[in-house]
């Protein structure tokens, strides 16, 4: 199938689904909007899964569908273009799936991948802890082996969607005497069990999509450990690479929609006449063009996948760009942007402005990306 046929197919399918039963889900969810339309979006995950739109490029035995890298990018582009609902399953598909494909046993793949491709299972990522953020190797959550299970004690924090998730991939310390990168294991933990408490944290947007997660005797099966015991660091780093991967190449389209909205608003309310604002808008346009051409270039050279370094460059680019656009969105609006709806209800510009501050923190902060680029791309000493 040609790329153009593929584009037509996904575009047609999205159009049909989003003008029919899921019309009410258009534009819901996503960054800063995860609190919206849960039930409908959960159903949307299953609808996507049934139509075979989850797990592109994965083996078909696990419910995936063959697709080239270019087609995967096309899928993300069309998804963004259609303003399809924010994916509750994005960590399931973008993070855990590729991790299992790379590091999982055949049994683990057979057990977990179909739940992802069917849109049934929602996963969350249990990495960060109160004392382990950028320095992930500082993880303290312990998992003690008892027979066929690990018993987990500790706390995770900033766990996105934990309150909605069925499973969590958790980085824990399985070797009690160990420090830093050694002695860590990567466990797949069911969320619906005694011994797990999820406490939502209110974000500066006034809404809540991340949580504290407390493990107090929660259990994970030993057969659900990914990679060898004590070698969880390697697996966790693999996941981080996927976090900055293919979907980011397709996100230009979503960014372009946002920029267009800000520009349209500037024309509408006269902000466009303000030379300083207009210049920032043009600057944003140029920045987006640079990202688009960079993405094309990455895609052309990527072959099987993106290297961590390329991913770091694009993470730094897009996170910084989107944060600036968030500021521009409210500056274009002017003082009118200071008024919210009842109950601190935010409009698009306000949500963008506030939530985009997270872009340069999560998934490896800007500072961490700069360290990676300086040390691994440029070879500067540690």
């Amino acid at each position: 199938m040609s790329d153009e046929q593929f584009r037509a197919e996904i575009r047609g399918w999205l159009h049909e689904a989003l003008s029919g039963p899921f019309a009410g889900a258009v534009g819901t969810g996503g960054e800063g909007r995860e609190h919206e339309a849960h039930e409908l979006r959960r159903e949307w995950e299953r609808h996507l899964g049934r139509a075979g739109w989850i797990g592109l490029g994965w083996p078909s035995e696990y419910g995936g569908r063959p697709a080239t890298l270019a087609q995967q990018v096309i899928y993300h582009e069309e998804y963004a273009r259609a303003a399809a609902p924010g994916r509750l399953g994005h960590m399931s598909e973008q993070l855990l799936g590729p991790t299992l494909l790379a590091f999982g046993t055949p049994e683990q793949k057979a057990r977990f991948l179909p739940g992802i491709t069917s849109g049934e299972d929602i996963w969350c990522q249990g990495y960060s802890e109160p004392d382990a953020g950028s320095d992930l190797a500082g993880v303290r959550t312990r998992a003690e082996r008892r027979g066929d299970s690990y018993v987990i004690t500790g706390q995770k924090v900033w766990t996105s969607l934990a309150h909605l998730a069925d499973w969590c991939f958790v980085l824990c310390r399985t070797d009690p005497g160990s420090t830093r990168h050694a002695g860590l294991s990567y466990l797949l933990v069911p969320m619906h069990q005694p011994g797990i408490t999820v406490r939502p944290i209110t974000q500066l947007t006034g809404t809540s999509e991340f949580n504290e997660v407390f493990f107090d005797g929660a259990v994970a099966a030993v057969e659900h450990r990914v990679g060898a015991e004590g070698e969880g660091w390697k697996v966790a780093m693999g996941t981080l690479g996927f976090e900055r991967g293919v979907s980011t190449l397709g996100q230009q389209i979503g960014f372009r929609r946002r920029l267009d909205a800000v520009i349209a608003r500037a024309h509408e309310n006269g902000a466009w006449q303000e030379p300083a604002l207009r210049d920032r808008l043009v600057e944003a346009y140029i920045g987006l063009e640079v990202m688009r051409h960079s993405a094309v270039r990455l895609l052309a050279s990527a072959g099987a996948g993106l290297s961590g370094l390329e991913a770091s460059i694009s993470k730094l680019q897009w996170a910084t760009w989107n944060r600036s656009l968030g500021e521009l969105a409210v500056d274009v609006e002017g003082a009118g942007a200071l008024l919210t709806g009842p109950g601190y209800e935010l409009d698009d510009a306000q949500t963008h402005f506030l939530f985009s501050r997270a872009n340069t923190i999560y998934g490896g902060s800007n500072e961490i990306q700069r360290n990676i680029i300086a040390e691994r791309l440029l070879g500067l000493p540690r």
């Binding site: 153009e4 582009e77 346009y285 063009e289 960079s294 993405a295 680029i373």
Partner: protein
Amino acid sequence: MTHASADPQPVAGTLRPEAAEEVAQIRASIVEVLDEQADLRRTHELMVGAQGHDPRLHELLTAELGLLGLVVPEHLGGLGLDVSAATAVIEELGARLVPGALATSLAAVLAARALGPSAEPLLARVVDEQLTLASALAEDGAGWDLERTATRATGTGDEWALTGTKTLVAGVEAARVVLVTARDAGGGLGVYAVDPTDAGVDVRTHMTLDQTRRLSTVHLREAAATRVDAPGGEGPRVLLDHVRAMLALESAAAARACLDRTVEYLKVREQFGRPIGSFQALKHRCADLAVAVAGARATADHLVTTLRTGSATRSHDAALAKLVCTDTLMAVAAEAIQLHGGIGFTFEHDAHLFFKRGKSAQLLAGSPATVRAEVAALAGL
């Protein structure tokens, strides 16, 4: 053409096909020559000399390696290679800040090639006579704003005479033909070929802030000329876009080279008992520059694809790449001076060559402010 349209351009489906094997070979052979004959020590010598460039190297690259004919179609005697062959050469020259007329000449050849049949006689001469070309667009007061071109062309058919003054012309020192933009009696803009040794032409070459790039004023008084583009076409715009492309490609490559040199220095220079490259304040600045260089590279690559496919977005992409790449070179070179400390402030050191080249690339063929406004207009903003 509007870019900020309701139907944004996708990323996928616009892949650059594999660059031809031949382009890689051309690049390799020019790298070999330049590494041997055109290091920055040599540039230091040449730029303070009378001629400002190395005629022997020019001769070697043109007469012996035949680089001017690379992209001239085969039926006109050239090698008929892809646009990327010429752009690869421009990049290698740019990375080493090689002074001289080859890059400007290649840009003019690419422009002529894009002009279609009307430029074929000129292209045939480029190969036959090893013609080095230069492009003269700017005028006092008007800069590179084509609309304000005041140079007059009188005549018809093959016989034209040009009168006016062109400023800030690069690469005349070795050029045998200058492509000049001028306005005919009907107000139409065109591109004309002028022999700089013609009696009606007076060339004054100036010392320049960027010593690696000499600039000249070209006075034309009833200078004999032939028309190169087809009347009613967009010849002058094509020429301007290719000059910009040259500046973009050179600058992207120079920015990369300048960053590499700076990073190497940070690895070996020690203060406080450790290499200064281990200080995070410096690392992070280098990382930001690396991101900027990657972005510049991407716009330059995209432009090459545009030139190759003859896409309608040529003017937009040339303006965007020129803006992004020259700003990037300026940023990298400015930081290079700072990160080298005292040695970076010396005439002896190379950092200022990149810095000065960066400024000339930024200001030639439209200043950042002008080009930015143009990008905005072309994007429909």
